[in-house]
Amino acid sequence: MSKESSDQSEQYKNFYQAWEKTMTEAMDIWKSNPLFNEEVQEGADKGAQYKKFYETWEKSSSEIMEKWVNSPLFAANIGKAVDRSSELKKYFDEAVEKTLKNMRFPTKSDIDRLHTSINNLEEKINDITDKIEDLNQPKKTSKK
């Protein structure tokens, strides 16, 4: 077994052990719930039992999930998924772009270029407005 796959299986094992521990704790609380006990008395606070169960589950799940998303294994896998999705997106966009070009339709890139030209023009207008405002500012007079 390579070092990389041994590290990965160790991480999966840790994750499984943490999950198993949580489930055991949660089941203990669940089993002690009066709703599962025939001798339950009228007026027993069932809501509080559910709440306790939920809080234990929430706390431990949160810890496990945070450990999981902070692990190098998760980061590497999410990175791979993003890579695959980028390849797919690029392939799909190129195919659409080629099709539209062949059909003599304007493509998304053409429209983006047009928008960029408009934005550049707006910047130039703002620069000119700026210069006009500078010229209209009262000039500072220097005493000789």
Binding site: E38, S62, E66, A75, G79, K89, T116, N119, E122, N126
Partner: protein, 354 residues
């Protein structure tokens, strides 16, 4: 094992059903129209998607040195003016500060080429010039939040002559500090070139799901359970819906600036290592000599506190202060505790130096 179906159990079940129906109505089937970012303002400058907002002063003679708020390029800046009573802008105005805010707008695919140089040397530079002209003040104060704080630090280092005071709010400076985002953004895990070359901009959905996965149980389950439990508390519901509106109003980040942030900062930590160049000019944090207030959130899960704390050691300012506040990344700007206990203090600090 049998379940004891008593009358009280039935009553309990009905109560649960009613609360659940109300929660579903408020969040999914019939959500109320919640308005955020409503403090009166005028739009005094626009360029491309950028809008510069000038908040109407609420005192007769506001402070002479205006303050510009620079938010991150992720999500909307309305978090700084969420709703009446939950607004940093409101606190600053009530203290007599002349407040401006940059709303970057939602970038389109045509903006994918916008880089750090454009944001720092064009957009922020233009805004500073405009604010100086409107206010008549030779300098401005700048407050940058998160990624906006990092950019505010870069601007101040490159144009120190413009900045009277600098306030950083949970700004990432040292990207070698361990954190989930640093791990995900690492060269080994994330090929940012491939990603941006394919997508153009960093899509809003990509960023949003990343933030949700930082704390999956809290963001996908606990938050809604908490809402269900408080669904009869009017004030809680109002705040929750306003926050949800802000959290779900996501925008993309222009591709080039995203690429530079990931590559130059997350992967190469160039700002701290004094190697970051913008338009050929080195960004040297030691060029910052103005008074600095560094605000850090103790439980920040997006920008680890240590990533921000280093800032005051890298600048030349003599008048510098750090406040580590017991809150999270967002809580620093919206929690009742920070709005009462932190922001009036920040305003006073600013007034003393304006």
């Amino acid at each position: 094992m049998s379940i004891n179906y008593t009358e009280s159990t039935m009553r309990e079940a009905e109560k649960i059903r009613d609360k659940f129906t109300k929660a579903i109505e408020l969040t999914i089937t019939d959500p109320p129209d919640v308005q955020i970012g409503t403090t009166p303002h005028d739009v005094v400058f626009t360029e491309n998607k950028l809008r510069l907002l000038h908040y109407r002063p609420v005192v007769k003679n506001p402070q002479a040195v205006p303050l510009i708020l620079i938010f991150a390029l992720i999500n909307r800046p309305s978090i700084l003016d969420l709703k009446p009573g939950r607004s940093v802008v409101e606190v600053l105005l009530s203290k007599g500060i002349d407040v401006y805010l940059i709303d970057w707008g939602a970038p389109g695919d045509e903006d994918k080429h916008l880089d750090l140089n454009h944001y720092i040397n064009r957009y922020i530079k233009q805004v500073v010039k405009k604010v100086k002209r409107i206010s008549g003040s030779p300098k401005v104060s700048i407050l940058g939040y998160c990624m906006g704080g990092t950019m505010a630090a870069m601007y101040t280092a490159l144009h120190p002559e413009d900045v009277q005071n600098l306030i950083l709010l949970t700004a990432g400076i040292d990207y070698k500090v361990e954190g989930t985002l640093t791990l995900w953004g690492d060269k080994e895990n994330f090929d940012v070139d491939k990603f941006i070359d394919a997508y153009g901009n960093a899509p809003a959905e990509f960023l949003q799901s990343g933030f949700i996965f930082l704390k999956p149980v809290e963001n996908m389950i606990s938050k809604y359970v908490n809402f269900y439990e408080n669904v009869d508390n009017e004030a809680f519901v109002e705040n929750f819906l306003a926050m949800e509106k802000w959290l779900n109003d996501n925008i993309a980040v222009p591709g080039e600036v995203f690429r530079e942030f990931i590559k130059y900062l997350y992967q190469e930590n160039r700002l701290v290592e004094n190697k970051l160049k913008i338009n050929g000019k080195l960004v040297e944090l030691k060029e910052i000599k103005c008074p600095v207030m560094n605000l850090v959130a103790e439980r920040d899960h997006l920008v680890p506190p240590d990533s921000s704390l280093i800032f005051n050691d890298l600048i030349s300012s003599k008048d510098k202060e750090t406040i580590v506040f017991p809150s999270g990344h967002i809580g620093l700007s919206v929690s009742g505790r920070s709005l009462k206990g932190l922001w009036p203090k920040v305003a006073d600090w600013l007034i003393e130096r304006s």
